[in-house]
Amino acid sequence: MDSKLTETEAPPTTIRKAGRHVSQNEGLIFEKSARGKRGMELPPLDVPPVDARAVLGPALARESVDGFPEVSEIEVIRHFTRLSTWNYAIDLGMYPLGSCTMKYNPRVNEHVARIEGLALAHPMQPAEVAQGCLRILYDLQNCLLAITGMDAATLQPAAGAQGELTGLLMIRAYLESQGNPRKKVLIPDSAHGTNPASVVIAGYEVQNIRSNDRGQIDTDHLREFATDDVAALMVTNPSTLGVFEERIDEIAHILHERGALLYMDGANMNALAGVARPGDFGVDVMHLNLHKTFSTPHGGGGPGAGPVMVKKILEPFLPIPVVVRKDDGRFAVDHNRPKSVGRVRAYCGNFGVLLRALAYTLAYGPSIRQATEDAVLNANYVRKHLEDHFDLPYDLPSMHEVVFSDARQKKNGVNTMDIAKRLIDYGFHSYTTAFPLIVPGAMMIEPTESESKEECDLFIDAMRSIALEAESNPELVKTAPHSTRVGRLDEVAAARKPVLRWKP
């Protein structure tokens, strides 16, 4: 083995997108604490001071929070500024995490979310002084209904998974109202993990159904499983392979015939917005991930919002409260909905996320279709340039993402995770690894519409270069990344003896 190539730096000529630069070290904030430092001061108290022990009594009073940090303002700024520089982010470059739709998060959305009258609105302030908030929610509902072609919406769910649960609860309530809630929910083997997990909380059993050899739902198989016990099928469309379910109407038909409903996981709506509406192809319930398709920032893991859109028959079962427009044109929240599945979250959903999604939608208007087209164009462009280098287990036309597998590189002992880590050295975030489960060694690539041709080309170059490295120098790839502050971290040790908090 050529020892030179196992150096920590790859040959610089192959990496066009990134270099290395000096980077600040930084301890934990607790390690900077010293008694008496202050990072925030309060205006003086304008009422008589009280003695906490006297007011609360000795049993309820607390002296102070042990171990809490004591640092100054500049130390806090430096601490978090330094930490931030250790992160990769959309603002730094392409983030091709499949299924995650890491697109540009418009800055104006951050701006409007901070307008005082919105940011300081209290969720219990009377509707007469919350007309602005309610109108925002109402306008967003209408936009989402237009885009999905559905009939009614709830904006309550805090994320996609809660949207799934909410949708399933509505299906259950509907079926109950028909006399029998039924027992099972069908889930394709390509589905996201939240789907089965949500099914369980909704009180259903999961029945997995397998995809056919083209990665599509096997309609024969579906016919077989769609018994009277089945409440619904949860389909992700386009599927997690990035492929449209061509027989979606047949699928809907099979279910409806048996009195079951069709749930659509709308996480991949970035392939459809402006091009096709789930409401038109037989979907009864669906959720959207506003933190994906509608550009609200992920913020290192959340917040999100998972609105649920339904067909007319399910409207009575929407969770409370429902935002409505009254005859006089004013907006109100309706709590009085006897058939409702109940409340899924306190207050009115993740309002701050919802308003950003509306800002995004308003920015595009009908030209949202252009975003969709660009997203699909990028995915196909990347696919075209990589399909000679990576194994494509399912070769149906891709929509917004493409799923390769590491089958070819495996021969040299290089797996999808190794390639993902090596991408870091090339200046990229990795794609999604190990999902969907139907593709062993999956490499799930979703560029989104936010990537320029230049960035796509750099990504293609990087992937091709890594494919070559996997042949010529697999060790280099297997020990990547080589350019980061810390190398691969020992996850096994972390899980075996968990250290989950700092201790003095």
Binding site: F68, V76, I90, I115, S198, S450, T484, A494
Partner: protein, 448 residues
């Protein structure tokens, strides 16, 4: 379109590279009949300036210029501009869940600090990062108690936030979980008399909130003792986390489900906030939600990773501890930065100011003839008053003076009509408290 980094000719080039004639070709797998012909009937496109104008107009339709005395789970506290400056750094704002640890150490380190801060605040051993909010954190805490104890009955104090209880019921309904509500005493605390050993038998958990929905502090050690004696867990929820700066933490609780909004998060009409579950180390594998753990790389350098993922849906699917995936990481960061700024002394001082303001407000309001506290027990920054008239009527009159008055709690507690929940924090100026008192006095003096 300004968000799209492509020129028309680049689009053509890329299509050519793919070998497609037109972009429509790329959508041909969608059955033709489902492909839209016409543009969607959406408002827009709007320029940035028009978007700002739209939202400014909406903000103006809200309560600009009003003084509010609402709390009830959402609190207006001082927040430093420093927090927002940090959180708006693109490296934090626009990153995903930190699965690729080597380029996510910023987020992971901050999460680890968040977990630590939450443990310190609640005096628990482990804390997750994060749950959607307080209401779902409480619900998940109950499901966790069910898993830990293998029991399926839960005793829930009626003094727990009504909306939290509604959410719990929505989730519980299909899981065979029996929810029994426990009433309150004249003190405003959960009525301990009702927690009979009979009731407690077979209970997975006793669920309380402190400060509770009435603003009243519960006696956690005693309640824990009662629960533990029956083999049940004590689940405590906290909606006003600033109280922990000066109120004894629920160390005896087995699971703490907290709403972190009070720790630096804007009210934002109800969300996004940040829920937390904190618990004992021994229950960690039953805990839902993400956890960052410390570890090292091959060179021995300290680093952090997401850990114990085998509890989670993406690994365990239908056997996961929860279906949660996307959580409220950014607001965990907000709380972390905020608490680092506030620090030990700052948090105590803030809590103390809340206590003082509440004492002052109580004294001022109780001077009004016919107005008195509804409950006798100790409170932090919120309290229930009994009025000689309907709170709704009083509020309607206050509204004309640009005051959003006490929350009428009769809606949720039919026996508590004419009771209003008042909240004051360090942000409520004394003069506004005095104005509230003067206004209510005037309103009550005028004929109905």
């Amino acid at each position: 379109m300004r968000y799209l980094p492509k020129s028309p000719s680049e689009r053509q080039e890329m299509l050519a590279a793919i070998g497609a004639e037109s972009v429509e070709e790329l959508f041909e797998t969608i059955p033709e009949k489902f492909r839209l012909r016409d543009p969607l009937p959406l408002p827009g496109p709007l320029s940035e300036m028009e978007i700002i104008e739209y939202f400014k107009a909406r903000a103006a339709e809200n309560a600009t210029g009003y003084t509010s005395f609402l709390g009830a789970g959402v609190y207006q506290h001082l927040r430093s501009v420093v927090t927002d400056a940090m959180v708006q750094r693109g490296e934090f704002l626009t990153s995903y869940t930190p699965y690729q640890a080597e380029i996510s150490q910023g987020t992971l380190t901050a999460i680890f600090e968040f977990q630590t801060l939450m443990c310190q605040l609640t005096d628990q051993e482990v804390a997750n990062a994060s749950m959607y909010d307080g209401s779902t954190a409480l619900t998940e805490a109950v499901l966790m108690a069910e898993r830990v104890t293998g029991r399926d009955k839960v005793l829930v104090a009626r003094t727990v936030h009504p909306e939290y209880r509604q959410v719990l019921k929505t989730y519980a309904k299909n899981l065979g979980l029996e929810i029994e509500e426990i009433g309150f005493a004249a003190s405003g605390q959960v009525d301990r008399q009702l927690l009979t050993s009979d009731k407690l038998k077979d209970a997975a958990a006793v669920v309380i909130q402190s400060p509770n929905f009435f603003g009243v502090l519960e006696e956690v050690p005693e309640l824990a003792e009662a629960a533990h004696a029956a083999g049940a867990l004590l689940v405590t929820t906290i909606a006003e986390a600033v109280s922990l700066g000066i109120v004894r933490p629920p160390a005896e609780a087995d699971i703490v489900a907290m709403e972190g909004q009070a720790l630096g998060v804007a009210p934002s009409y109800g969300g996004p906030f940040v829920g937390v579950i904190a618990t004992r180390e021994k229950f960690v594998r039953q805990m839902p939600g993400r956890l960052a753990g410390q570890t090292t790389d091959a060179a021995g350098r300290r680093g952090f990773v997401l850990t114990l993922a085998t509890r989670e849906q993406h690994i365990r699917r239908e056997k996961a501890t929860s279906n949660i995936c996307t959580n409220e990481a950014l607001f965990a960061l907000v709380a972390t930065v905020h608490l680092c700024l506030l620090g030990k002394e700052g948090l105590r001082e803030m809590a103390l100011q809340n206590l003082a303001k509440a004492q002052f407000a109580i004294a001022e309001l109780e001077k009004i003839p016919g107005v008195r506290r509804a409950f006798s027990s100790r409170v932090f920054n919120e309290f229930v008053l009994e009025f000689p008239r309907s709170v709704k009527l009083i509020n309607a009159a206050l509204m004309r003076e640009k005051i959003i008055g006490p929350l009428a709690i009769g809606t949720h507690y039919p026996e508590l009509t004419k009771r209003g929940l008042v909240c004051v924090t360090e942000t409520t100026p004394r003069a506004e408290i005095e104005r509230l008192a003067a206004s209510i006095r005037r309103i009550l003096e005028s004929p109905v």
